[in-house]
Structure formats: structure tokens, C-alpha cells
């Protein structure tokens, strides 16, 4: 009962009114029953709400996508725990807040372990006679572990997204993000080596 005012507070400071919350709560009931259309609508309507929530609290824009992803994934995993007779706002913001804090903590640990690519002692060869292979190898080794694992599983071992995600014990979405970051970092490292 204590958290009820939180929804009111949110709806006062944000352009969501009581009807909007009730409509989301009704959609949530359908989501719990496995209705994918309702789920898509709910995620699309809640997307800006949750993204705004994350952006207001996370000052580093580079990690906003990570945190937002964690919030949506947690929302997905916790959707069964919403009690249909209760206000939706407190449930949503409890999930958002806790998952955001967890994501930030994970990110902090990750940053502490990360090796900055800029510090690598590298001078890449411009030749294509196999020396690129060494550069590629080096650049791959220099990637943050999570991104490197994603690329190795997908590109070197040729696993499908689902298989690789299962091996790393992450969602497919999380794997795609890691791989995408890895490709970008790899490209940057190789270009830097060329110039």
C-alpha cells in the first residue's frame, strides 16, 4: 500500500494518467496469459517510459542501452509476479529501479576488468599476405572478454545465435549486443592499425 503514491507521483510528474496505468495493467493481464500482440503493444508503450526513467538516472549515455536492455529483460522475466488486483506503477518501477541498479553494478565490475584498446602496443601491417591474420588475432584478443566470446562463438565456431546464447547463459538479445560491440571495437582496432 505504501508504494501506491509512487504511481500517483509518477502520473503527476509524467504525461501518463490513471487511465493509462489501468490500460497497461489490463494489457499486463493479457501478457501473463501469453498474448503476444498485447505484449508487443505494452512493450512499445512502456519503452519510452522506461527509457526515460533510465536516461534520467544514468549519466553516461554510452551505457544507457545496456541498462535499458537489462530493465526490459528483467521486466520480461518478472512479468509473472505482477498481481492483477494491484496498481501497476509501483510494480513496474520496482522492477525498473532494481534491474537498473543491478545493471549499473555489473557495468562497474565490467569496466574495472576491461583493458582499454588504446593502450595496446600495436602497429598493424597493411599487407594482406597473412599478417592481417596476426593483427586480427591480436585485436580479437584485446577485446573485452564478453564481446570476444560472442564473436568467437558466432564467427569462429559458427554457432547459431541461440546456441551461442545458451553456451554463454545469456539471452539472444544480450548476445547480439555483445557481438555488435565486439565488431565495432574490432573494426576500430584494425583501422587504427592500418593508419
Amino acid at each position: 500500500m505504501k508504494s501506491k503514491p509512487a504511481a500517483k507521483k509518477s502520473s503527476k510528474s509524467q504525461p501518463w494518467n490513471q487511465e493509462q496505468w489501468e490500460s497497461w495493467a489490463q494489457l499486463m493481464v493479457k501478457v501473463q496469459a501469453g498474448d503476444t500482440q498485447a505484449y508487443e503493444q505494452l512493450l512499445n508503450e512502456l519503452g519510452p517510459v522506461l527509457l526515460g526513467y533510465v536516461r534520467r538516472r544514468v549519466f553516461n549515455p554510452e551505457i544507457v542501452p545496456d541498462v535499458y536492455q537489462e530493465v526490459l529483460l528483467t521486466f520480461h522475466k518478472a512479468r509473472h509476479s505482477y498481481e492483477t488486483n494491484r496498481p501497476f506503477g509501483p510494480w513496474l518501477f520496482t522492477v525498473a529501479r532494481n534491474s537498473m541498479l543491478d545493471a549499473l553494478a555489473k557495468n562497474r565490475r565490467f569496466v574495472e576488468r576491461e583493458i582499454p584498446v588504446e593502450e595496446l602496443p600495436e602497429k598493424g601491417s597493411t599487407e594482406m599476405d597473412g599478417s592481417l591474420g596476426d593483427d586480427l588475432d591480436q585485436a580479437l584478443k584485446a577485446l573485452p572478454e564478453l564481446n570476444r566470446q560472442a564473436i568467437e562463438l558466432l564467427k569462429l565456431r559458427g554457432l547459431t545465435l541461440e546456441e551461442a546464447a545458451r553456451e554463454l547463459n545469456v539471452s539472444v538479445a544480450a548476445l547480439k549486443v555483445r557481438a555488435h560491440r565486439g565488431y565495432r571495437q574490432l573494426r576500430e582496432a584494425l583501422l587504427k592499425g592500418k593508419n
Binding site: K2, S3, V31, Q32, A33, G34, T36, Y39, E40, L43, N44, G47, L51, P61, V64, P65, Y68, Q69, L72, L73, T74, H76, K77, A78, R79, H80, S81, Y82, E83, N85, R86, P87, G89, P90, W91, L92, F93, T94, V95, N98, D102, N169, S171, V172, A173, K176
Partner: protein, 229 residues
Amino acid sequence: MRAVSSKKTKDMSQFHRNLVHDLLAQTKPAPEIQKAGVQWGLWLLASLGTMGLILTMLKLQPGVGSVLNQMPSMTFLGLAFLGSALAAWEAISSSVPGRQTPRGYRIFLSLILIFLFLMPFLFFASGGHVFNPWTAFRDGWGCFSAVSLIGFFPWIFLGWIVSRNAAFHPGWTGAWTGASAFLLSSMTIQLHCPNWQAGHMLMAHLLPVAIFTLATSWLGAHWFSRWRK
């Protein structure tokens, strides 16, 4: 600058679409869970039933009527039951997002638990009797084992209920499940055991509650976070 932020917005929109696409691909009906109040009621009924059954087998202590007529004994048993019931509610509500109890509730519950541990010294310590923890522990090993074993029944049931919810602080939730279940078991054994000496109560009836509260905090951190895997 506008171009950059518009690109970022576009990227985030695409990112959101990809995420939604992946989540929709994994959609299936969510497992149904009972309302928190129902969960609590079911646990209380089942646990009291189990404790009643165990007490029927173990038998009540002789002269239990006169024991219950004494204020300190009655207060101890009453507080143990109240603490157990409130801790179970705290465990359940801490595992349902948006259901968190007010801070005052947790303070009140903690005070009950602290007072329970102080009660043997305050009301059951006999003058001139030297409290030797090791002797009290050794002599009360039977009660210690009984509290520990019996407490597992309500703990498993409460843990099963809570594990189906979505606890964000599984360690704390685990600690409350342990406090609740083992307090109930301690109360049950106290109804059976005629020894109301401070040392015995502390080392044989309350020590397992403290130990298993810590242990279940660790176990809960693993068990109650499985929903996020």
C-alpha cells in the same frame, strides 16, 4: 548536434525494436502465482498443521497449562509465533515487486527478534546459576537437533512459495524465510520441552534460529535468484 541526437534516437528505436522482437519470440504464458496474502495464509496453515502433527507425536510438556499461565512463558511463545508469522509475510512481500513493507514494519519485526533473544536473560535466568554456553549446548543437543530438523519443513514450503515470485534481494528474503520457519520450529519444541532455563533456551532453542537464519540467507541468495537466470 541535432543530427547526432536524432541518429542516437534512431539507434535506440532500432535497439528497442530488436529487443522487443527477441522478447516476443520467447513469449509464453507466465507461470501463475497466488496473491501474496493467499501465499502467506497457505504457508501459515500448512506449517501450523505440520507443527501440530509433530507436537502430537512428541507430546506437550507436562503441566503445559500452568506454563502458559505464566506471563514470561506465554509472552515468549506468543512472540515466537508472532515473529514467525511476520517474518513469513516479510519474506513473501519482499519477493513480490511493489509489495515492499514499510521500514517501520521491518524495525518492529527486528525488535521482536532481538527481544526474543534477550528474554532468556531477562525473565528466565535463575539467580546464582552460572551460564556455561558449552554445557548448555551439549546438554541441549537433542532440542537443538529437533529445532533444526523440524524447521526444515516450514522452510522448504516457504522457500518454494517465495522462489516462484521475483525477489530482487534474495539474500534478505532468504534470511526472513529462515527466521520465520525456525522460529516456528523453536516455538513448537518449546511447547514440548519442559526446560525453561535461560542457557538451555538460548543454546538449544534460539541458537538454531540464528544459525539457520544466516544459512538460509546464503541459500536464498542462490535459490531465490533463479528466476533471473
